[in-house]
Amino acid sequence: MNKSSGAPPVQEPILEISDLRRYFPVRNVIGRRVGWLKALDDVSFDVASGETLAVVGESGCGKSTLGKTIMGIHRSMAGTIRFQGQEIGTMRAAERREVGGRLQYVYQDPGASLDPRWKIHRSLHEPLIIHGGLRRAEREERVRDILHAVGLPATHADLYPHELSGGQQRRVGLARILTLHPSLVILDEPTSGLDVSVQATVLKLFRSLQQRFSLTYLFISHDLSVVRMMCDRVAVMYLGRIVEIGQTEAIFQNPKHPYTQSLLAAIPRIGEKRVTEDFWLEGEPPDAVNLPSGCRFRNRCPRAAAVCAETEPALAKTGAAEHAAACHFAA
């Protein structure tokens, strides 16, 4: 639990995903399967201990399915998920519970998962009771520490959720996840729908908690400017595949995949020329049930050639170390 915080990566991976696959059946009116929705199609990557890896992409690209499959909410259909050296993708529910405490998932609004009829105190004790092993006095101490760490006075333990503001509820929701001292936290769209000033407060809290508890974050988001500020590495997903992965600055300054380039080109840059004046990406992502042959992006890609329709490009290293893109023309 006491891993050195801060300076990422070059450490043993805490999470190793290889060829992870999760399809959802598409059924017709009488319940017969007529196709597969490929939410995760042979996804592989590692997360180093102590780092923050962003998974970005537009809605429907499979980024939330990825987080939920790692958590065991969806079962994987193929591939392996190794967490701290242990294969967890094929575990039974009972074994899985052991891991549960060290691997935690934060929904968009963690405050919304508090029971309105429970005092904060009870909500914070519940995970400790389920995962067992602590005496009452130890639990009390742990809860007090956690409340302090998320910036709430200890007296708030005696309040009900409705007596707190939205921001404080959010802090309690996070505290609840942290009482178990997880090593890897999956944050699923943690800032979507927040105002910028609230967002700044939340991000600051994530950062201080990461340092204090040596957390590793898997940061699922569609907001690229937040990702740039918070994450060490970025994985870009498009229709169930990782199309590019690398160090944050490498991706932002020198994106190799045309899809990544278009995503970055769409972010408004305040104080500079309007990006919509020469935004070039046309169309919308194709139906995930009927993917085009070869490269999934070719229908919208300005560089698409004959080879793109024939073979699907694999994720391959480009010039810089640790920077890989799945494109035939990634130079």
Binding site: E58, S59, S165, G167, D195, V196, S197, V198, Q199, A200, T201, L203, K204, R207, H222, D223, L224, S225, V226, R228, M229, S262, L263, A265, A266, I267, P268, R269, I270, G271, R274, V275, T276, E277, F279, L281, E282, E284
Partner: protein, 349 residues
């Protein structure tokens, strides 16, 4: 650009009755929109931007909302005092149209898109004659027919506009049900419907919030092209500064029911004069990876601070800020700020 004032809101006060007392949602708000201008209304949730948009449309939730004073002058007429029936018939949905935030909820899922668009055109087509308008108040709606030749002309106009919002194969698209379109396509349909009555003002309430960033860029580009081609004014509310930067000519920032600052877009981002604007822009994600928060929380609108509502969170607040709401000060051409201690240009902390 023509500089006549299309919409002029003066000292508008709106309160909402709640269990905990009256929430002062709009406190003496002033806002001016000129012909052909895209005015951005930015601010955090609960700052009153949606209430302001709804007050202009005259669709505030009743009976909770009470208008406590002020005027909403649209083309010189006060919409709050003229006969509601004539506002309904002549202004709302015709001279002022609306683009909603949620393109999923705005269509009836059971009717074809074409049916719903033609229903709009039956009542609000720019080709409705004065005589039809006159009968529309006397005869029950169900008994009124849609004249054949106007239907044909309207349908041609609809197909035309669906083409210009880049809906592929408009004739076929009109036969489809709303769920057969993606979110981006549905928002294109909403934009088309807002333009069809040939309005003077479009109120767009966070129209791109529900969309992905690449689709948002496409929609913003489309909206700006269409607006500038037809010289229509837009009131564009958003909480996203980047979106406001992309589409607006002027930006007004609101905080807790008070408008704080109005400036041309470039100047708004380069030389903000209100401490709140400065802090708000600083809290945006930036390249140097440092997170700056404003500190404190947005006030509860039933117990608002006196004077300038930002004073409890403001670093330069003084006694006068706690006592009086500042008047509007013009710091440059088109740049007005309501602050007792505006930030000097170049001295932004």
């Amino acid at each position: 650009m023509n500089t006549t004032e299309l919409l002029d809101i003066q000292d508008l006060v709106v309160g909402f009755a709640t269990d905990r007392g009256v929430a002062a949602v709009l406190d003496h708000v002033n806002l001016t929109i000129r012909q052909g201008e895209v005015m951005g209304l930015v601010g955090e949730s609960g700052c009153g931007k949606t209430t302001l948009a709804r007050a202009i449309l005259g669709v505030l939730p009743q009976p909770a909302a009470k208008i406590g004073g002020g005027r909403v002058l649209f083309q010189g007429e006060d919409l709050l005092t003229v006969d509601p029936v004539s506002v309904n018939r002549l202004v709302r949905g015709r001279k002022i149209t609306f683009i909603p935030q949620d393109p999923y909820g705005a269509f009836n899922p059971l009717f074809r898109v074409g049916t719903q668009i033609m229903e709009l055109m039956k009542w609000n087509s720019p080709r409705v004659t004065a005589q039809e308008l006159e009968t529309s108040t006397r005869v029950p709606a169900l008994l009124q027919r849609y004249p054949r030749d106007r239907y044909r002309a309207d349908k041609a106009a609809v197909i035309d506009i669906l083409n210009s919002v880049q809906i592929p194969e408009p004739e076929k698209a009109m036969e489809k049900l709303p769920h057969e379109f993606s979110g981006g396509q549905r928002q294109r349909l909403m934009i088309a419907m807002a333009f069809l009555p040939q309005p003077d003002l479009i109120i767009a309430d966070e129209p791109t919030t529900a969309l992905d960033v690449t689709i948002q860029a496409q929609i913003l580009r489309l909206l700006r092209d269409m607006v500038s081609r037809q010289n229509i004014s837009v009131l564009f509310t958003t909480h996203d500064m980047g979106t406001a930067h992309e589409i607006c000519d002027h930006i007004t920032v609101m905080y807790a029911g008070q408008e704080m600052e109005t400036a041309p877009t470039t100047r708004f981002f380069a030389q903000p004069a209100h401490p709140y604007t400065v802090r708000l822009l600083e809290s945006l994600p930036n390249r140097d990876r440092e997170i700056r928060e404003i500190g404190g929380e947005i006030p509860v609108l039933t117990e608002v601070p006196s004077g300038c509502r930002f004073h409890p969170r403001c670093s330069v607040a003084s006694d006068v800020c706690r006592r009086d709401r500042p008047d509007e000060v013009l710091v440059a051409d088109g740049h007005a700020v309501r602050c007792h201690h505006p930030v000097e240009p170049g001295a932004a902390s």
